[in-house]
């Protein structure tokens, strides 16, 4: 029986028919999706912190407004994604609890500090840029609500990427010190951005099944290569140098070759030893705990209102 359902399920996926919340699905598919979508949601929300760190210091009113709007978009992405996870039967509070206790992961890139204004450029250009590679692929994910959330999100992400690039372009066309600021930022964000695509294909644990289920359609290394190929020419236009002596065009492959990622650093940041892991979780926990009385009060008030409505209705009747 189950086998037959599983066959039908896989047949649907193979035929590119979207899986919807009420459809039958293997328990493992559901769990894998909840894990993936909630990690993605957490990444959006934790991702608000490094850029949020520069909102009060943005250098012009136009930039301040654009940055606030950008960080707010990420909150919106978090919201869509938590909602998508809820369609699979997950509860937002449980998911948040997993984030706060360290059980759930989020994108490691946000465990690096945003130390200068140029980072608002580099994050938009590289981090949103790398995210787009992944997310464009996910607009065709087999689970309907996830794929649809991604379509909305991708539009905003590509706007973020252009905005970030434009911040760097302004710096690179500015004074000497602004160029230095841009170069310093690229030096710090380049390798962590490449790490966003995850381990090499040979090391990647979840990939094969996720490919079959079409909740992943390209391998980590494929996506990373596409990102490098797209980004190198953009850095040339900026006139700043990518911090990789091994980076060069490979005529034969039709791709850029690039150096080896520092995997020891990668795994350490994943395990919680990045520069900001503790700070990010602490900030999220603090916001959640400090908000508890607000959420409680909102619920209590809504209940009171319902009761009053019922009571006045009873009176009329």
């Amino acid at each position: 029986m189950i086998e037959k359902l599983e066959q039908q399920f896989q047949a649907k996926i193979d035929a590119e028919v979207k899986i919807e919340p009420k459809d039958w699905m293997p328990e493992k598919y559901r769990k894998t999706l909840i894990r993936q979508i909630s990690q993605h949601a957490h990444s959006e929300v934790v991702g608000m912190l490094p850029e949020g760190n520069w909102i009060t210091r943005a250098p012009s009113l136009r930039r301040k407004i654009a940055l606030v709007a950008k960080v707010q978009d990420e909150a919106g992405h978090g919201l869509y994604l938590y909602s998508a996870a809820e369609t699979l039967g997950a509860e937002r509070d449980d998911l948040l609890d997993q984030l706060h206790t360290g059980k759930a992961k989020y994108s490691s890139i946000f465990n690096y500090p945003a130390t200068t204004w140029a980072d608002m450029g580099a994050i938009g250009w590289l981090v949103d840029g790398a995210a787009i590679m992944n997310q464009v692929m996910l607009t065709r994910a087999s689970y309907g609500p996830y794929a649809r959330a991604m379509v909305r999100i991708c539009k905003e992400e590509s706007f973020h990427q252009r905005q970030g690039y434009e911040i760097l372009l302004t710096l690179c066309r500015g004074t000497e010190i602004q160029k230095q600021m841009a170069q310093d930022s690229l030096n710090r964000w380049w390798w962590p951005s490449l790490m966003m695509f995850g381990p090499n294909d040979a090391e990647s644990t979840h990939s094969a099944q996720s490919m079959a289920w079409k909740i992943k359609r390209k391998s980590n290394d494929e996506l990373r290569q596409a990102f490098v190929d797209a980004t190198v020419p953009q850095a040339k236009i900026l006139g700043i140098t990518i911090p990789d002596p091994d980076l060069k065009w490979n005529e034969e492959r039709g791709h850029y070759d690039f150096g080896e990622i520092d995997w020891a650093e990668f795994w350490n940041v994943v395990k919680g030893n990045g520069p900001c892991n503790r700070q990010r979780i602490e900030d999220r926990k603090k916001a959640y705990e400090k908000g508890a009385w607000v959420r409680d009060a909102a619920v209590a008030y809504a209940e009171k209102r319902e009761q009053r409505k019922a009571a006045s209705k009873a009176k009329v009747a």
């Binding site: 929300v45 608000m48 912190l49 949020g52 909102i55 009060t56 210091r57 943005a58 250098p59 012009s60 009113l61 136009r62 930039r63 301040k64 407004i65 606030v68 709007a69 960080v71 707010q72 909150a75 919106g76 978090g78 919201l79 938590y82 204004w117 911040i167 302004t170 710096l171 066309r173 500015g174 004074t175 010190i177 602004q178 900030d283 603090k286 916001a287 400090k290 908000g291 508890a292 009385w293 607000v294 959420r295 409680d296 009060a297 909102a298 209590a300 008030y301 009171k304």
Partner: protein
């Protein structure tokens, strides 16, 4: 030298929006729940947008070839003309909401009056802002009620915030020399006219919120004439950081 009353009046309007927008933007990423994080950030965005309109007009009015950013980021503390209420720290959601409501109710009636200003530009900016401010007032009123009449804990937090912030409300209606000059030219809003509407609004909302209006009418003041609290310097140290550390650059 005669003070430029119209300029100072525009700075009062622009600085209130700028400093409160700056304060609210501190919440971004730290709100009590994602939906409210987004909502409070929306208000920050509205206020910062309004600040741009007012300060751009202030720069034109000043006529010294300065930009909105020169005005926003490169004045000395005593040249900012926002009320003390908006520079008060966020503290917690209760303080933020009470501060917002005390300000929004004022700002709403103020902008309504300003849509009738003899100065067309002021009337136009006010009309544009009024739509946003109407929404802000609805939002903060609803939250005052929800938290005032929520749980015992939320009630207590709201009452504490109200008791503390009450002494900053009077400055909203205290006439600065620029207020007086602009009112007499029918460019500015007659604050005496809107005072009773304001008091009535507060009475209705606080009553529904089951909050007690504090006694005492003494009010802190000074912001409108450039005398600020100790909080202001810290706000400016962040607001102005880039422009001060890297002067005369394009961003």
């Amino acid at each position: 030298m005669q003070p430029n009353h119209k300029l100072n009046y525009l700075l009062q309007l622009g600085d209130n929006a700028l400093i409160l927008g700056q304060r609210l933007s501190e919440w971004c990423g730290h709100g009590p729940v994602l939906e409210q994080d987004i909502a409070i950030t929306n208000m920050a965005l509205d206020l910062l947008g309004q600040a741009r309109n007012w300060l751009d007009f202030a720069a034109q009015t000043e006529g010294k070839n300065r930009t909105e950013d020169d005005i926003a980021f490169l004045r000395n503390e005593w040249e900012y003309r926002n009320v003390l209420l908006v520079e008060y720290p966020n503290k917690d959601w209760a303080f933020t909401i009470v501060r917002q409501f005390l300000f929004d109710a004022f700002n709403y009636y103020l902008h309504k009056e300003l849509t009738e200003s003899k100065d067309e530009q002021i009337a136009a900016i006010a009309a544009k802002s009024l739509k946003e401010i109407t929404y802000h007032l609805r939002f903060s009123s609803e939250w005052v009620i929800r938290l005032g009449d929520g749980t015992d804990i939320s009630h207590e937090k709201m009452q504490t915030a109200l008791n503390e912030l009450w002494r900053y409300k009077g400055e909203l209606f205290k006439l600065s020399p620029s207020d007086k000059a602009m009112i007499s030219e029918e460019i500015g809003a007659d604050l005496n006219k809107i005072k009773s509407l304001y008091d009535q609004k507060l009475k209705v909302i606080f009553e529904e919120a089951t909050l007690t209006i504090p006694d005492g009418n003494w009010s802190q003041s000074g912001g409108k004439i450039g005398k600020h609290s100790e909080h202001m310097g810290h706000i400016l140290s962040e607001l102005q950081f880039m422009q001060r550390a890297f002067p005369a650059m394009e961003w």
